[in-house]
């Protein structure tokens, strides 16, 4: 059963030190505001999970809150590498995180299996791929009908999923549209879930097959307009590509990074996000 909370409460009530947590979003609807709140609350020793860890994962790692990362592609999409992630892996700054590395297909299957209540997923994957040798969570299983050797991976069941969505209604049902990523599976596979939304409306008026998460699948809803910035929310604001490109510079230097985090995250509140999207509203182009 969902509760409407401030983001401060949504985070503190649901995420605990040492939890396994995902902040999912596939380019679209990435829950930046939630990750920043976690950083402000200094909730650490986290195992962070995501198919495409990008800027916020670079930030969590650089702030020393991460013990381990489970992932399939760690990059600043379209820009380059994640420099704080690299600094951790290559130089152990501020700490060397453990990694469990997968392919996208494996992670997608693992979230699906988690949502479907299964302990593992089978798929046709990793053929000839060397991750098999370095990740002990990649095993094989034999099809009892054809004898084919299939790949097996454990289901993902994070303690907490954070996602950002377009709308919640007054009961707490959540609507997601556009590029859906694995957000539905992330919420359904996790023990708890916190959803930031652009808007709270009385009632949805939408296509019958729209992706809606019923209120009883969600732990907390927090109204944070702009909460995906510099990612985007279809129907609300565009992706701030320039900010993604700038991140490469910020993250390239430990000191620049630290002072940027102090100024833009530690000293801020979730309210700042609505300012950040002012020039990115969709109607600007139309």
């Amino acid at each position: 059963m969902t509760k409407f909370l401030s983001l401060e409460e949504g985070v503190s009530e649901n995420l605990k030190t040492g939890n396994q947590v995902c902040f999912e979003g596939f380019t679209h609807l990435i829950p930046h505001a939630s990750a920043h709140e976690v950083i402000r609350q200094k909730i650490g020793r986290l195992t962070i999970v995501r198919m495409t860890p990008d800027v916020i994962y670079d930030q969590l790692i650089g702030m020393g809150l991460v013990k381990k990362m489970i992932f399939s592609y760690a990059g600043n999409p379209g820009v380059g590498l994640l420099r704080r992630f690299r600094d951790s892996i290559e130089n152990g700054w501020p700490n060397k995180i453990e990694i469990e590395e997968h392919s996208h297909s494996a992670m997608a299957h693992a979230y699906e299996a988690g949502a479907a209540g299964l302990p593992c997923a089978i798929f046709r994957g990793y053929k000839g791929a060397e991750l098999r040798k370095v990740n002990s969570n990649i095993k094989t299983i034999t099809c009892p009908f054809t004898g084919e050797e299939l790949t097996a991976i454990p289901a993902l069941n994070p303690d907490v999923a954070f996602i950002h969505a377009q709308k919640a209604d007054k009961k707490g049902n959540v609507l997601v549209e556009g590029i859906l990523g694995v957000q539905k599976e992330a919420v359904l596979s996790s023990k708890r879930s916190v959803v930031t939304v652009e808007e709270i409306v009385d009632k949805f008026d939408c296509h019958p097959n729209t992706t809606i998460l019923p209120y009883w699948t969600i732990s907390a809803i927090c109204h944070v307009p702009g909460g995906a910035h510099p990612s985007y929310a279809r129907g609300y604001y565009k992706r701030d590509n320039a900010t993604y490109i700038e991140w490469d510079k910020v993250a390239s230097d430990r000191e620049v990074f630290s002072s940027w985090m102090q100024e833009n995250v530690i000293n801020e509140t979730p309210k700042i996000f609505q300012n950040r999207i002012k020039n990115l509203k969709e109607e600007d182009d139309e």
Binding site: F26, T27, H28, T52, F71, S72, Y73, A74, G75, P77, G78, V79, L81, L82, F85, R86, I89, E90, E101, S103, H104, S105, A108, H109, Y111, E112, F123, R124, G125, Y126, K127, G128, A129, E130, L131, V134, E148, E149, G178, I179, L180, G181, V182, K184, E185, T211, Y232, R234, K238, R239, D240, N241, A242, T243, Y244, I245, K278, N279, L280, D284
Partner: protein, 260 residues
């Protein structure tokens, strides 16, 4: 026809020519995305472009910076979840061409985008495989695009992110992969195809003005050439204009609006 083009432009345009109107392409960001869209805007208007963010049959007016830009969804036939994309569409065997890039590539089309150096203590930690391990095995064919360099085209890759032809010959079949694998390599200097038997990449065509020495100077293995080597046709005026217009539209769209 124009002589006034960069090797990057040449690479993208040559890749676009390899695509057919009835292809279903799993598109990566960068050169593959540009190539696929040039094909769509020139000789292959009905080509199906699929990005792993779930967008099927997309027709972006500008090149996406990321694999999940809004433009991809707005212009798509439909957008599905990422699990569905990898399960029903890629693993389901519906992709005819998977496009891959590489940080390191060997002569058998094996690709590394994971680490330079040792996996546990890498010299350079790269982004990792993403969709590549299963694109390499599930797409009917794999096309590879990359700019040649001695660091990139190496005798031995540091990590097998995705499997091409292994050690060559029938290696794919021996590990029960029944798709064709890398069947085309397009660099900024040449067009390469695997030898029918050994599966080693062989230069089929040198881009206009490129010499064998230039290719070897930027390739870490001993380059082999086809007996019937050709010269790649330079970009046509239409191809070049289409690519440059696309890049210009993209640049404008991605520039920051500092004031209202």
């Amino acid at each position: 026809m124009s002589n006034n083009y960069t090797p990057d432009e040449m690479m993208t345009i040559v890749a676009s020519r390899a695509l057919k109107n009835d292809d279903v392409c799993f598109v990566g960001i960068g050169a593959p995305s540009a190539a696929c869209n040039i094909a769509r805007l020139t000789h292959a208007p009905d080509i199906t472009l699929i990005y792993e963010s779930g967008t099927i049959g997309t027709a972006p007016n500008i090149l996406p910076l990321s694999i999940g830009d809004g433009e991809l969804c707005e212009t798509a036939l439909t957008t599905v979840s990422v699990p569905e994309m990898f399960r029903y569409w890629l693993q389901g065997g519906r992709i005819t061409i998977g496009f891959l890039g590489a940080a390191q590539l060997d002569k058998f089309g094996n690709i590394n985008t994971t680490v330079i150096g040792d996996y546990s203590n890498p010299k350079t930690r790269l982004p990792g495989g993403g969709g590549a391990p299963e694109i390499a095995s599930s797409a009917k064919q794999v096309y590879i695009t990359m700019k040649q360099s001695l660091r990139g085209m190496v005798e031995k890759i540091d990590f097998f992110t995705s499997f091409g032809h292994g050690s060559g010959g029938k290696d794919r079949r021996s590990i029960n992969i029944d798709t064709e694998g890398p069947s085309l390599l397009i660099t900024d200097l040449a067009i390469w195809k695997p030898d029918r038997i050994s599966k080693e990449f062989i230069v089929q065509s040198l881009h206009d003005g490129v010499t064998r020495d230039m290719v070897q100077d930027k390739c870490g293995w001993k380059v082999k050439y086809s007996d019937n080597i050709e010269v790649t046709e330079p970009p046509t005026h239409l191809e070049l204009k289409t690519l440059r217009d696309l890049n210009e539209r993209t640049k404008i769209a991605n520039s920051r609006k500092d004031t209202d």
